[in-house]
Point group: C2
Chain length 134, copies 2
Amino acid sequence: MGDRHMGVTGSLEPCADQDYPDCGVRHLLDRLGDRWTVLVLAELSAGTRRFRELQRALPGISQRMLTLTVRRLERDGFVERTVYPSVPAQVTYELTARGGSLTRQVRHLVDWSAEHKDDLTASRREYDARRRNA
Amino acid sequence: MGDRHMGVTGSLEPCADQDYPDCGVRHLLDRLGDRWTVLVLAELSAGTRRFRELQRALPGISQRMLTLTVRRLERDGFVERTVYPSVPAQVTYELTARGGSLTRQVRHLVDWSAEHKDDLTASRREYDARRRNA
DNA sequence: CGGAATCCAGCGCGATACTG
DNA sequence: CAGTATCGCGCTGGATTCCG
């Protein structure tokens, strides 16, 4: 039980990296945790998109955040950016194989959260109710 | 291709919730995305822990953040908090079944990121190098 | 069209001090 | 031991402006 190096059914193996723990999942979760990355992945998983198309598909996103989000995805090799030297400029974004792989992982999380959504909501209401009466 | 409602191998199904998209994954990723939640899950997946034990196991966490993190996990029903009315007070935390389920999901992400860590690092270096020369 | 640059508000989080 | 309360900084992300 004290063994932190078990298989898939075991623990998560805590890991003390220097100055920022988590062995690299941290970087991934930093991206997935931000406001738009998952939505961009979702939209791109439906096919190649131009900048404008992404923006229209993601109501509320600012130009700045869309740029930052796709840039970071491109930097990590999740998205490929293609510039067509037309006038006006035309740029398309599409998932790479790695991006598709990540998206499928994310989908598992999405499915899991969908499965447990009602339970979570109930737990929260219960907790808040108990707190108010205390 | 335009179908956003495919099966597991398909897209992520973008979803326009009101005022905050993502259909509930958002709330989950908000937690997983913060600095300490995954680390706490990791530690608790190794067994029941007292407040102090968690704090010692998570170098750098402040009392405040540990409290907030376990509170939110408790609120969502991922962690059970037990108070023993001894003097001084003694409180233990342990994963619930739901918390264990979530932790296993997280583990998949951890495994995935471990698998692709080197590729990501390489992609970033490549991207940054290209940027500097441009 | 597809950005980059700048300014600014919110809040996540750390540090510190106090409590049952 | 296991918290709660308060303050303050940094970073994320929104709004706006300008550019090729």
